[in-house]
């Protein structure tokens, strides 16, 4: 119960995001792959309306050897526009099946996740927050992450953009509940690549986003 309360409060805290633009333009497709200190995931989504995306998600929790596969919907709750910036608030939810792999004998069972993301960015600065609660068959799990970034130079459309970022994440149930991950983002056209490292747990971080 305490775990659930903590998880719920994390989800409701409301500020920022790790994914870059989880909702695209109408008719657009996006592939997002991410490997952080805990899991490796792939999300392919389609945007039928500029406030919604729906997609297929697979996530492998590497320590527990549990794999989630299911559908995920993301709603752009609000986008704030300014000439030099934009801010976004997203809510997302997913449902599917989780099952053990390798040495984990866990049978397939219903699983799901909910969360919020928010971000604010200019061409120079970036701030984001994400909170997620999931149940992949081994109990309710919660995480939250905040990120700040700066672009050392500002390029135009089609240039190679580089961002230096710092992410702090909290996973209350882990041996290392709070970790810091410095990362570098390369961004050009429809492709975004992030590489980082989490010293506290000696794990690399990598993600990519491709939009088409």
């Amino acid at each position: 119960m305490r775990t659930f309360a903590l998880a719920a409060s994390c989800a409701l805290l409301g500020a920022a995001a790790a994914d870059a633009r989880p909702v695209s333009y109408e008719g657009g497709w996006t592939v997002i792959g991410e490997s952080d200190r805990e899991s490796t995931s792939l999300l392919t989504h389609h945007t039928p309306h500029h406030e919604w995306s729906v997609g297929l998600k697979a996530e492998w929790m590497r320590d527990s050897d549990i794999v989630f596969t299911g559908v995920q919907a993301t709603h752009l709750v609000k986008r704030w526009f300014a000439p030099d910036s934009q801010a976004n608030l997203y809510a997302f939810a997913g449902a599917g099946i989780a099952e053990g792999i390798n040495a984990n004998p866990m049978d397939a069972e219903a699983a799901g996740l909910v969360g919020v993301m928010a971000d604010w960015e200019t061409r120079r600065w970036f701030v984001s927050y994400e909170a997620r609660v999931s149940d992949f068959g081994s109990g309710v799990d919660a995480m939250q992450a905040a990120r700040v970034g700066v672009a050392p130079y500002v390029g135009d459309f089609g240039d190679l953009h580089t961002w230096l970022m710092l992410e702090i994440d909290q996973r209350p149930e882990r041996d290392e509940p709070v970790t810091v991950t410095p990362l570098i983002r390369f961004f050009k056209g429809s492709f975004l690549l992030e590489l980082g490292y989490t010293p506290a747990v000696n794990e690399p971080y990598a993600s990519f986003t491709y939009r088409f």
């Binding site: 000439p83 061409r123 975004l192 490292y197």
Partner: protein
């Protein structure tokens, strides 16, 4: 591992930053793509992209739309893909410095303001203004 990561970061920033540096330009374009452009009512005149001038030379008409919230390549990609698949559009280009969407409407075809506004919205952004023809 940390040292390798920091070295990669430093090389990337130094290398790409240097590669991106542009010579000074008397009209100020290309010197600094920073956040200070077009603030406080100042309006930068967009430099027309080569694709735009080529399409204009073929007889199209120019539309320049100012768009709020365009801060990255994903924004620009959304706009170019959304407009690029329309038959009326001969060329499309996004200038992040001036926050403008440059369109060339093919000769003999038209696209009204309401359609442009709708397509910008469907791209996920907000139209601020539209200028047409020589005034664009």
């Amino acid at each position: 591992m940390i040292r390798i990561f920091l070295t990669v970061c430093a090389l990337a920033v130094a290398g790409f930053g240097a590669a991106h540096a542009q010579p000074a330009n008397p009209d100020g374009h290309g010197e600094d793509h920073g956040d200070n452009h077009a603030h406080g009512g100042e309006t930068l005149q967009p430099t027309l992209h080569e694709d735009i001038t080529t399409a204009l030379a073929e007889g199209g008409s120019l539309v320049v739309a100012e768009v709020n919230g365009m801060v990255c390549d994903f924004c620009a990609t959304a706009m170019t893909r959304t407009f690029g698949r329309r038959d009326e559009i001969g060329a499309v280009h996004v200038d992040l410095d001036t926050k403008t969407l440059q369109l060339v409407i093919r000769e003999g075809l038209s696209m009204d303001d309401a359609t442009i506004t709708d397509l910008v919205t469907r791209s996920g952004y907000q139209l601020a203004s539209i200028r047409r023809g020589t005034g664009a």
